[in-house]
Amino acid sequence: MELNNPKAKRITWWQKNQIKISPWIFLAPGLIFFSIYVIAPIFVSIGISFYQWDGLSPSIYVGLQNYIELLDDEYFYISLWNNLKWLIFFMLAVPIGLGLAIFLNQIVFGIRLIKSLFFFPFVISQVVIGLIFTWFYQPNYGVIAPFLNFIGLEGFSILANENTATYGIIFAGLYPQIAYCLILYLTGLNNINPEQIEAGRMDGAKGFHLFWNIVLPQLRHATFLAIVVTVIGALRSFDMVAIMTQGGPYGYSNVLAYYMFEQALSEYGYRMGYGSAIATVLFTIMMFYILFFIYRMYRNEREDNN
């Protein structure tokens, strides 16, 4: 009798399968959205990189043509090389952030406010930071003009010189990035196990020895996060370049992220296929770091479950 009652049957079916179905109901909106706007576009972009397309007229399949052109493109190499400079010099944010964190990890009057003021640059838009530093670097009106005069480089424009422009931008980029690493390390120092430090001190560990052998290993997680966000920041560097030099002079401060934009979507042309090829190269480089990050998370998950 009960089985023939459709209402009772439906309730039991739902009760039986609730645990199985519920996760998908909760996941659906986020997952669908994310797939449409983030996951699918990755594959679409890679697809477009095999076409010649101006965004309006029908696209033409050209196979590997865009990639072959890249291999011969002087500006592509300049951008790639600049990305490497970004990766290397942007990493300075990690040790500097750590040093500052150690310097600030004290309890004195007003330290909380001082710490917040040190975090400050991270909260401000990169557009604003870029504008400030562009103005700093102005050869005649800029803040560093007196300094340049002092060392005999009167009227020298850092951002207009092909040898110095990239370093000028990286230096500006370091300002918020150091603040970011500082935040990560201050939290890390806060979470250090005080007993281990005391035990180390009992054993006579001091200064650098104590730092290197006992403190730094405990800051592993902070270091890992700092490196990940710094690498990603370096490879994503777009805002600063767009604001400060737009890749100039003559593309010498370009990076892949900005070069891609310039090729695909600016007054220089609407070469969607070629832009996608550049984006695919950048994506491939980034993928190494992403996989590394995911591998680590996977390892942590497995440890948690055991």
Partner: protein, 283 residues
């Protein structure tokens, strides 16, 4: 504690530290002082090269007036709020659900889906740019705030899911088990038990997303063209082109653009920092 607390050090070191601390802060904030000082100057000081001396006139209010009346700055600021707040709400709402699903249920593709969210969150924007712009065109939302918000919500869901999932996973499982024993539905567990407990995580995500989206420049340039929908970062950039050497106005505009996230940061600093470290202290 590391390093050794300063008050356990010789008195001389304590004094040196207390002198160096404010000096280092001042050096660190030079760029910020730079724009603050410049925002109160007039054009006269700028062309005379008086960057660091005392301003010859106090013109902050006149500069503010100029910026607000002669440029679409008010419009830009409003647009930024219209983009930022819905994105914040949307991404947090979606990720509460995805985070709950991934933290609470065991199913075969759980970790794979979780990793997809993480990986997507880190990809370079350029690999998404052309298809996203194209899609936004096709659904008729190019050059609209809605179009920008939709993308931001989707993208930020990646980071928020990572955060929420870890947070919910760290909550005591017994609570959920007990509720299930009592016959509570899964939706009820989510709404009545999990959501109230995730309040700190929601707060952290809100401040972070607010800051990220407020400061976004790339997507604002890709998806928006006209002043009517342009947020403040892109607006400032376009004003930069018009002002050229009007650094006093540029500085004033920059300060206007920086104020909302700075206030947000000072009000919710604890949550902000917890969010940045992914709320995780283990490693």
């Amino acid at each position: 504690m590391f390093p050794t607390p300063i008050h356990q050090r010789p008195i001389v070191n304590q004094y040196i530290y207390k002198i160096f601390l404010p000096i280092s802060l001042i050096i660190w904030l030079i760029p910020i002082f730079g724009i603050l000082m410049t925002s109160i100057r007039g054009l006269g000081d700028i062309t005379a090269g008086n960057m660091w001396g005392t301003p010859s006139e106090f013109l902050l209010f006149s500069n503010l007036y100029d910026v607000f009346t002669n440029t679409p700055m008010i419009k830009y600021t409003l647009n930024s709020f219209k983009v930022t707040i819905p994105t914040m709400l949307g991404a947090v709402a979606l990720s509460c659900m995805t985070g709950f699903a991934l933290a609470n249920y065991k199913f075969r593709t759980n970790l794979i889906i979780f990793f997809i969210f993480i990986a997507g969150n880190f990809v370079p924007f350029q690999i998404l740019m052309i298809p996203v712009r194209d899609l936004t065109f096709k659904i008729g939302l190019y050059n609209t705030i809605t179009g920008l918000v939709l993308f931001h919500v989707a993208f930020q869901t990646g980071f928020c899911t990572l955060f929420m999932r870890n947070f919910i996973k760290a909550l005591p499982q017994e609570l959920i088990e007990a509720a299930r024993m009592d016959g509570a539905s899964e939706f009820r567990i989510f709404w009545k038990i999990i959501l109230p407990l995730t309040r700190p995580a929601i707060a952290a995500l809100c401040v972070l997303i607010f800051t990220f989206i407020w400061n976004d420049y790339f997507w604002a340039t890709v998806l928006i063209q006209g002043d009517h929908a342009m947020p403040i970062t892109a607006g400032l950039k376009s004003l930069n082109g018009q002002w050229i050497t009007a650094y006093h106005l540029l500085s004033t505009g920059s300060i206007v653009a920086a104020i909302p996230p700075v206030i947000m940061f000072f009000l919710m600093q604890k949550h902000f920092i917890a969010g940045l470290t992914l709320g995780a202290t283990k490693g």
